[in-house]
C-alpha cells in the first residue's frame, strides 16, 4: 500500500506512459506506446492493419485453410460459377479452385512486397546518406543519378528491365527495386542534411569517429522513421506494379497463382465468366487499399507536419 511499493511495481501501462522515464529503454518503449495509442485512435488505419494481419495469417496457414489444391486441375468442372460444385469463388479455365489460388497467391504478393520493401529503402539509404554526409562532388554525382532514375516513368523502366533480364518473380522484384529506390535516397539525403551539423555529430567526430561510423551508427537510425512511413505508403504502388508486370506476363510465370497473372488468364473469359478475372482483382484492391489506409494513418502519427493537419 505504501508509496514505495507503488514505485517499485507500476503496471505495464503506467510504466509505458510515465512522464519521467528512468531508463533509455523505458523512454523508447514509451514513445512506441504513445505512437500506438495515436494510431489506435485512427479507425481507418486500424482497419488497414486488421486486413494486413488477416492477410499474413492467410499466407501463413495457406495449406490448412485452402479448400482445394491450388494447382489441381479438373477440366470437367472448368469455369464453374461461384458457389457451384463446392468452389466458393468459382473455378478457372483449367478447373482450378480460385479461392485456393488466391490464398496461395497471397504468399507471392507478400514475398514480392517484403523483398522490395527491404531492398529499395536500403539502396536509397546508402545512396542518400552518403550523398548528404560526404557532400561535394559525391553528392552531385549521386543526386544526378537519382534524378535520372526519377525522371524515368517507373512502369516503363520496369518493363524494359524485365524484358532485358527475362520474365520471372526475382527479376520483377529487381526491376521494381531499381525503379523504386530514388525517392528513398532523396528522403535519406534530406534527413542527413538536417542532422549533419548537429552538435552531437560534431561531438562524435571530435572523439575520432570516421565517416562510416557516423553514418551507420548515428545517421541511419534517425532516417529510419521517415523511410518506414514512405515504404508503407509505397507498398500499394509496389503491389500494383508487381501485379501489372504479372498481368503482362513478365512477373510470376504460370501455373504460379500470382494475382496479376490470374487476372490476365481470366481476361479472355471476362464477358461470360466474370469471376475468373474479378476475384484476383478484388484481392489486389483490398490489399493495396489496406496498405494505403495504414500508411495514411502512420504518416499522421509519426509525421504530423506533413499530414496537412
Amino acid at each position: 500500500m505504501s508509496d514505495i511499493s507503488d514505485h517499485k511495481k507500476p503496471s505495464l501501462r503506467e510504466w509505458l506512459t510515465s512522464d519521467a522515464p528512468t531508463s533509455r529503454r523505458q523512454a523508447k518503449f514509451s514513445a512506441y506506446y504513445r505512437s500506438w495509442l495515436a494510431l489506435r485512435s485512427n479507425p481507418m488505419a486500424m482497419f488497414g492493419l486488421l486486413i494486413l494481419l488477416f492477410l499474413l495469417a492467410i499466407a501463413a496457414f495457406a495449406p490448412i485453410i485452402s479448400p482445394h489444391d491450388p494447382f489441381a486441375q479438373d477440366l470437367a468442372l472448368r469455369l464453374s460459377a461461384p458457389g457451384e460444385n463446392n468452389y466458393i469463388l468459382g473455378s478457372d479455365s483449367l478447373g482450378r479452385d480460385i479461392l485456393s489460388r488466391l490464398i496461395y497467391g497471397s504468399r507471392i504478393t507478400l514475398y514480392i512486397v517484403a523483398l522490395v520493401a527491404l531492398m529499395a529503402p536500403i539502396v536509397g539509404l546508402f545512396v542518400g546518406t552518403a550523398a548528404g554526409y560526404l557532400g561535394g562532388w559525391v553528392d552531385v554525382v549521386l543526386m544526378r543519378i537519382t534524378d535520372i532514375f526519377l525522371a524515368f516513368p517507373r512502369l516503363v523502366l520496369a518493363l524494359a528491365f524485365v524484358s532485358a533480364l527475362g520474365a520471372g518473380i526475382e527479376n520483377a522484384v529487381l526491376a521494381i527495386v531499381l525503379t523504386a529506390w530514388p525517392p528513398y535516397a532523396r528522403i535519406a539525403r534530406a534527413e542527413t542534411l538536417t542532422i549533419r551539423n548537429a552538435d552531437y555529430i560534431h561531438a562524435i567526430k571530435l572523439q575520432g569517429a570516421g565517416a562510416l561510423r557516423v553514418i551507420t551508427k548515428h545517421i541511419w537510425p534517425l532516417c529510419i522513421s521517415s523511410l518506414v512511413i514512405r515504404v508503407t505508403l509505397d507498398m500499394a504502388g509496389i503491389i500494383l506494379t508487381a501485379a501489372g508486370l504479372g498481368f503482362l506476363g513478365l512477373g510470376a510465370q504460370p501455373p504460379s497463382p500470382e494475382w496479376g497473372a490470374m487476372i490476365s488468364a481470366g481476361r479472355q473469359f471476362i464477358l461470360d465468366h466474370w469471376w475468373v478475372a474479378t476475384m484476383p482483382g478484388l484481392a489486389i484492391f483490398t490489399v493495396s487499399l489496406a496498405f494505403n489506409l495504414l500508411g495514411d494513418g502512420l504518416r499522421d502519427v509519426l509525421d504530423p507536419k506533413k499530414s496537412g493537419k
Binding site: 544526378r144 543519378i145 534524378d147 535520372i148 532514375f149 525522371a151 524515368f152 516513368p153 517507373r154 512502369l155 516503363v156 523502366l157 518493363l159 524494359a160 528491365f161 524484358s163 532485358a164 533480364l165 527475362g166 534530406a190 542534411l193 538536417t194 500499394a236 500494383l240 501485379a243 501489372g244 498481368f247 503482362l248 506476363g249 513478365l250 496479376g260 487476372i263 481476361r267 471476362i270 464477358l271 466474370w274 478475372a277 474479378t278 484476383p280 482483382g281 489486389i284 484492391f285 493495396s288 487499399l289 496498405f291 494505403n292 489506409l293 495514411d296 496537412g308
Partner: protein, 354 residues
C-alpha cells in the same frame, strides 16, 4: 526540395553577380542535357544486358562462323562499349532507333504513327480529371471534416489502390458487355476506319476537321471508358493536392481580410484562394499528365488502343528489342520534358520562387 542554408546563400550570391534568368536557363539546360544522356545510357545498358543475341536474331541459328563475325562487326559489337554508346547516342539524335522486327519498319516511323493515339487518350483523361478533381479538392478543403471531405478522401484512396488493368476489364464487362452503353476495344468501329483523312492522328480532332460527326461520336463512344479511367487516377491525385494547397491558403490572413471586407464566400474561395494556388496546381497537373502517359501502358493493353503503350508491350512479348528501347526512350523523353516544363512554370510564374 530541401535546400540547406549554405546552398541558399550560394544561390543568392550567384544571383547578385549574374542575371538570374541567364543563370537559370544555363542550369536548366545543363540539367536537361545530363538527365537525357543518363536516360539514354540506362536504356543503352538495358539493351546490352538482354539475353537475346542481336547477331543471332539477324543471321539465324545455322549461320556460319564467318557470316556471324561479319554481322557482329557490322553491328559494331567489336568496338569498346563506350564507343558503342556514342554510336547509339548519335543514332538517337538522328532519330534512328533501328528497325522493328515485328513491323519491319523503322521504329521512329512506328512511334510517330502510334503516339497521337496515346496523346489523345491522355489529354482527354487529363481534361476530365482536372475538370472534376479541382472542384472536388476545393470543396473538400472548404468543407473540411464534413461528409463531402470524407467522400473525397475515400474516392482518392480507392483511386490509389485500384489496379488499372483490372478496373478496365470490369468496366468493359459492365458498360460494353452487359449494358451496351459504349463501344468496345479499339479507337473506332471497323466500318468507320479510314473514312476521314489523318491530319493530327487524333481521331476526335480529325473527324471534326473533316466535319464527319458520325465518326466523331463513334470515337467518343470508344474513348470514353479508357479516358474516364485515366481521368479517375488523375482526379485522385489532383483532388488531394488541390485540397492541401487550398487548406494552406484558407488559413492565411488575406482570406480573413477579404471576408471582413464583405466579399462573398464564392469570391473568397474561387477567386482569391484558388487564384493563389494556380501555379502549384499547374505543376501538379503537368505531373499527372506525365503519369497518365505512363498509365496508358496498361490501359492501352486492355482496350487494344493502338498507342505507344500497346506498341511497347506487344514488342516486349515478341522480343522486339529495338521497338522496346525506342518506345522507352520516347516515353522517357516526354516524361522528362513535362517534368522540366512544370518546373519552369513554377519558376517563371511564381514570384516567390525567383
Amino acid at each position: 526540395m530541401a535546400l540547406t542554408t549554405d546552398q541558399e546563400q550560394r544561390k543568392r550570391r550567384r544571383k547578385s553577380s549574374f542575371s538570374p534568368w541567364i543563370m537559370g536557363f544555363g542550369r536548366v539546360a545543363f540539367t536537361v542535357a545530363i538527365t537525357m544522356i543518363g536516360l539514354l545510357f540506362i536504356t543503352f545498358i538495358i539493351g546490352r544486358v538482354m539475353p537475346i543475341d542481336p547477331v543471332l536474331s539477324i543471321v539465324g541459328e545455322s549461320a556460319s562462323k564467318s557470316t556471324y563475325d561479319e554481322a557482329y562487326r557490322q553491328l559494331g559489337l567489336d568496338k569498346p562499349i563506350i564507343v558503342q554508346f556514342f554510336i547509339f547516342l548519335w543514332d538517337v539524335v538522328r532519330g534512328d532507333f533501328g528497325e522493328s522486327l515485328l513491323t519491319a519498319r523503322p521504329v521512329l516511323d512506328d512511334l510517330i504513327r502510334v503516339f497521337p493515339a496515346t496523346l489523345e487518350l491522355a489529354t482527354v483523361g487529363t481534361i476530365i480529371g482536372v475538370g472534376l478533381g479541382v472542384p472536388l479538392g476545393v470543396i473538400a478543403a472548404v468543407k473540411q471534416g464534413t461528409w463531402i471531405d470524407h467522400i473525397a478522401r475515400v474516392v482518392a484512396l480507392i483511386g490509389y489502390s485500384m489496379p488499372v488493368f483490372w478496373i478496365g476489364l470490369i468496366g468493359l464487362l459492365v458498360f460494353y458487355g452487359k449494358l451496351g452503353w459504349i463501344s468496345g476495344p479499339g479507337r473506332l468501329d471497323i466500318f468507320y476506319v479510314d473514312i476521314i483523312p489523318t491530319v493530327t492522328g487524333m481521331i476526335l480532332i480529325d473527324s471534326l476537321l473533316a466535319g464527319d460527326t458520325s465518326v466523331f461520336w463513334n470515337a467518343v463512344s470508344h474513348i470514353i471508358l479508357p479516358a474516364g479511367l485515366l481521368a479517375y487516377y488523375s482526379l485522385a491525385y489532383i483532388s488531394r493536392m488541390t485540397r492541401s494547397f487550398m487548406l494552406e491558403q484558407l488559413d492565411q490572413e488575406y482570406i480573413t481580410t477579404a471576408r471582413v471586407k464583405g466579399l462573398s464566400e464564392h469570391a473568397v474561395v474561387w477567386r482569391h484562394a484558388l487564384g493563389n494556388v494556380k501555379v502549384p496546381l499547374i505543376t501538379v497537373i503537368a505531373l499527372s499528365y506525365a503519369g497518365l502517359l505512363e498509365g496508358s501502358v496498361l490501359t492501352e493493353t486492355i482496350f487494344s488502343w493502338p498507342g505507344i503503350g500497346l506498341y511497347i508491350t506487344t514488342a516486349l512479348l515478341s522480343a522486339d528489342m529495338n521497338a522496346v528501347l525506342g518506345g522507352t526512350v520516347v516515353v522517357g523523353l516526354v516524361f522528362v520534358c513535362l517534368n522540366i516544363f512544370s518546373d519552369l512554370l513554377y519558376k517563371f510564374f511564381d514570384p516567390r520562387a525567383k
